[in-house]
């Protein structure tokens, strides 16, 4: 079979068979306003000049800022072995081979990924893998609908706003998605309103398929996951926990508090923050729901000679075989990123991961104390791990002025949740093991200077201290 392109004569014959005269007629169903217009490109440039211009554009990226930004993507130290091993030719494809069983090494790496994540989340089955945390969360919600044959999912407003937007996209026009409000006052302010959840679950005319809650949540707070799981199960709904994998080294894993499905972003496991990805969607569930989980699953078995062998399993539910009835048609395998997560976890080990999580949490407590000393208070009172919100009048201006001083002061919460008055004047700040005590002291001093308009005494201000290179954004 020749793989040459179609000739003009070929195309004319095909169009003729369709009774068309121009290829654009194939796209007549797409409204004109939505069609791609001609690309408005400048004239060609010599390579040297083009390279210089692109270097100039790249130089406008700020990589020198001391970052306190998390909000779903987290900076961590990654052993150099991770990136080095990913470059090996044997691994360097994003996909699972189409004759998978002849590639035992690839299947073994996927099996090890599933095993490592399974241990972290304390659930039976892990799929390998999904686009990102948002896609994995949407798939988890769809699993709940299929398994319960119900069509209504409740998602806490404390789940990342991007994830909720993705859920809305997946649900639009076919399933019902409702948001559980957050408590506005008291010690548990900022976490899921349990009373409201109970009322929503009590609507017998519209039974709930699944309840989706994040821990830690988008605002960094810890949610009463076991209690929420009990309420969901009492109403016959499944409980979906949105997780951050590093936190599971120190927090109770989803399997231990009764979650039926865990979904989350695998980026913190050895994958550098990258604007727009590629990232790694983690999805795990119980044996009872194994036939509902989309994506690739690798199993371990023995071959005819009794030797250990790895196989693709439950393939028949996937889109190449099941077409429109597949468990998911918005699904791919992020094998290279899953491999990065596996190498990271294997290299750093369980104790190392605990150190990463605990150090990030200790730095956050240090940051909270430092901010309190200059009169900047947390927005909420509940327990947090390594990320929390602070109340700051005119947060956006403060954020901009701190960038001028070399600090990325987390996320302006009003940018993420513009419609939530409770988050109008607030920054979401995050620390990890890459945040040094010196970074914190200099950040607090710079913030004090911005807020009071006079230089802070006793602490040297300004970032870019070469003694603390780990604080630089990657």
């Amino acid at each position: 079979m020749p793989y040459g392109p179609h000739t003009t004569a070929d195309r004319e014959r095909m169009l003729g068979a369709l009774g068309l005269t121009h290829i654009d007629q194939l796209f007549d169903d797409i409204p004109a306003a939505l069609r791609a217009s001609a690309l408005d490109l400048p004239p060609p440039e010599p390579e040297l000049e083009l390279s210089a211009r692109l270097r100039g554009l790249a130089a406008r990226n700020r990589t020198d800022l001391v970052s306190f930004l998390g909000a779903g993507v987290y900076r961590h130290w990654s052993p150099p072995a991770v990136d080095q091993l990913l470059l090996r030719g044997e691994w360097y494809t994003a996909y699972t081979p189409y004759q998978p069983e002849v590639s035992q090494g690839t299947l073994q790496s996927i099996y090890e990924y599933q095993s490592l994540i399974g241990e972290l989340v304390d659930l039976d089955v892990v799929s390998a893998s999904h686009y990102d945390g948002a896609a994995a969360t949407a798939e988890a919600a769809l699993m709940a609908c299929r398994a319960t044959r119900r069509e209504r999912v409740l998602v806490s407003r404390s789940v990342h706003p991007h994830y909720r937007a993705t859920l809305r996209t997946y649900f639009e026009g076919r399933l019902t998605l409702e948001e559980i409000p957050l408590l506005e006052n008291g010690d548990d302010a900022g976490t899921t309103d349990i009373g409201a959840l109970e009322t929503m679950l009590g609507d017998a005319d519209h039974p709930v398929a699944g309840v989706v809650v994040a821990n830690p949540d988008f605002l960094g707070l810890l949610e009463p996951m076991a209690r929420i799981g009990e309420l969901a199960h009492a109403a016959g709904a499944l409980f979906v926990a949105v997780i951050e994998p590093v936190s599971l080294a120190v927090l109770t894993p989803p399997g231990a508090y009764g979650a039926d499905i865990a979904a989350g972003e695998g980026q913190p496991l050895g994958i550098a923050p990258q604007y727009g990805g590629p990232y790694l969607g983690v999805l795990a569930t119980t044996d009872a729901l194994v036939r509902q989980i989309p994506g690739r699953l690798v199993g371990m078995t023995t071959d005819l000679d009794g030797q250990r062998a790895f196989v693709m399993t439950l393939r028949a539910r996937e889109q190449d075989i099941r077409r429109d009835k597949a468990a998911s048609n918005i699904c791919t395998n992020q094998a290279l990123l899953a491999l990065a997560a596996s190498i990271y976890l294997a290299a750093i080990g369980p104790h190392g991961l605990r150190d990463v999580a605990a150090t990030g949490a200790a730095r956050a407590a240090e940051l909270e104390a430092g901010l309190a000393a200059i009169g900047v208070e947390r927005l909420h009172r509940g327990a947090y791990l390594n990320e929390f919100a602070v109340r700051l009048p005119d947060a956006r201006t403060v954020h901009r002025r701190l960038i001028e001083r070399g600090f990325l002061a987390g996320l302006v919460l009003a940018d993420a949740e513009p419609d939530d008055p409770a988050l109008a004047d607030a920054l979401l700040l995050c620390t990890t093991e890459l945040t040094s005590s010196g970074d914190i002291a200099r950040f607090v001093a710079a913030l004090d200077e911005v807020l009071t308009g006079r230089p802070s005494v006793g602490v040297e201000t300004g970032a870019g201290d070469p003694a603390h290179p780990v604080g630089a954004a990657r």
């Binding site: 036939r291 028949a316 539910r317 075989i321 099941r322 009835k325």
Partner: protein, 127 residues
């Protein structure tokens, strides 16, 4: 082999055995042979109302997953629990131990629309 003459058949290869006001449902030998080794059968809970020609479950073999279609309307009265641990019964004895569920017959006239053994054999022979 020819299809048993005491059963009724759908064009989607399910069979029905009517006994008074109860019907037993399974898939035919031809369907089981075409699917290959069956590894999982997903059946509805007892009590669920089935609607004629709508999917009620799924049969999964090593090479395909197929919907099961209700031959008639009615409520599920029992499912074959043995298939949970021994789905291969559908291959080894599709018209007997490989039965899938029993159900009520909501509208006996729907049975008239089903094929008899000879007509089903003709359907299979016609490919």
């Amino acid at each position: 082999m020819s299809a048993p003459s005491d059963l009724r058949y759908t064009r989607d290869h399910e069979w029905v055995r009517v006994d008074g006001d109860t019907a037993t449902v399974g898939i035919t030998q031809y369907a089981a042979d075409q699917l290959g080794d069956i590894v999982f059968v997903e059946l509805p809970d007892a009590g669920r109302d089935l609607e004629e020609a709508k999917p009620f479950g799924v049969v999964e073999s090593v090479k395909a997953v197929s919907d099961l279609f209700a031959p008639i309307s009615g409520a599920v009265t029992a499912i074959n629990d043995a298939l949970g641990s021994q789905p291969e019964l559908v291959n080894s004895d599709p018209f007997g131990a490989g039965w899938m569920l029993t159900m009520t017959v909501a509208d006996p006239t729907q049975l008239d629309d089903l094929l008899d053994g000879t007509a089903y054999d003709d359907l299979v022979a016609a490919g």
